[in-house]
Symmetry: C2
Subunit: 241 residues, 2 copies
Amino acid sequence: MKGKRPHLSITDSSEEPLTGAVEDYLKAIYALGRGSVSVATNDIAQRLDLTPASVSGMVRRLAGHGFLSYERYRGVTLTDLGRRAALRTLRRHRVIEAYLSGALNYPWDRVHAEAERLEHAASDELVDRMAAAIGEPLTDPHGAPIPSREGDMDETEYLSLAELGAGYGARVVRVSDEDPEMLRYLGELQIMPGAELIVISKAPYEGPIALAVSGTMLAIGPQLASQVMVEPLTDLEAPAH
Amino acid sequence: MKGKRPHLSITDSSEEPLTGAVEDYLKAIYALGRGSVSVATNDIAQRLDLTPASVSGMVRRLAGHGFLSYERYRGVTLTDLGRRAALRTLRRHRVIEAYLSGALNYPWDRVHAEAERLEHAASDELVDRMAAAIGEPLTDPHGAPIPSREGDMDETEYLSLAELGAGYGARVVRVSDEDPEMLRYLGELQIMPGAELIVISKAPYEGPIALAVSGTMLAIGPQLASQVMVEPLTDLEAPAH
DNA sequence: AGATTAAGTTAGGCAACACTAACTTAATCG
DNA sequence: CGATTAAGTTAGTGTTGCCTAACTTAATCT
Ligand SMILES: [Mn+2]
Ligand SMILES: [Mn+2]
Ligand SMILES: [Mn+2]
Ligand SMILES: [Mn+2]
């Protein structure tokens, strides 16, 4: 599913700026509901590390401002206005991540925390300059797609590495950001967007998954594997035996 | 006058982060009192575009946190703690300005507004990376000195162009930022840090000041000239006649 | 259906920051 | 010295955004 309103830029809204808290709420709701599904109070609270009571209050205010529709006890859905605001913040976040990584050599496990704050302070002009300076990238350092200025975003769903059968080859397209420790570990293993790998074997009962990553053999748990999104490689599709 | 505590970095304070409002107050008080002189409530209010009542309230809180000493009706003086916090924000601000200008080609009349927000969101690591990326500059794009990580800053006082006598040559060291319109005009005239000029004549009664700037003749008013800080050039010191 | 539980909401509070209106203090001037 | 004025403060209010404690609603299970 693609974004709407192809001719109305998400960066030219002449309204007063939103607060950082509001932007983070909208971003969280977008992430949880992929922009259209109804989202539960508790899930928002967990994602933002707030109490459900706080979310109840904020959600009422956001509905009042037209960012979402809200029926008590029934969860929350972004309106078009809310969706555009969420995508604008998401674009900022990911452009900033990509810039920090590409232009300032920022390690990929720390760009998220930095972008989480800068996304609320950077002007549209700055974000555009950053994007231009690194060649208008289509994804952030973790492989997440960057929404266009117009609010369109590639929402292709990928398979997780945990779902890939033994014998299959795949290219890593995206890993979950947010957990720096995990990112550092994945980095050590060379499991990052663009890397190609082959699933050698999968032990049963949630057992380790053996992989070949750029020539090296290694094994990871299924929990970690579920955080790695991959695209199967057609020319390696046949199980090795 | 130089900063103090040469061995205690201003960027390694492990305390909880200050709010943007607090950082802006401390920066304003530092700018108005050059870090040591007592500063008036009304002046802070004017500089931050707030009412004096708001400043009275905030100033009491800041004193409570040990950032300044305060006696009712008597103005305010930064403590060492407050001065260090101010210098840290000032360093961030100016490094960000220099980076935007040097690395992203940001026009010099807009870096100030952008830095005014980013200074509260950028981490120390980011500021350090920015400074390193552009070669650890000593001044921002307007010629203002950048405090060191340790909190030392060059506080040399310069002559303003309005005070320079006819016939003298000088190098521009610094211009006032904050007014984008003025900066754009000065830029057109090539009056910017590093530029060399000669005062051809000064009309009496606040009249126009005729200048030669890199070969071009032009005239500016004394009000504008007072915003341009210069360093007289010894080899052009003798009045032209 | 009735009881239990999970999810969500309300009530009441608090800290940060801003405002206006009204008052107080200090400085100045005749 | 006393009056005027400028500077500064207090009182009271509003918004944002968070919390805990207590309650209500909806979903589930026997
Ligand atoms: Mn954020
Ligand atoms: Mn990311
Ligand atoms: Mn600021
Ligand atoms: Mn500047």
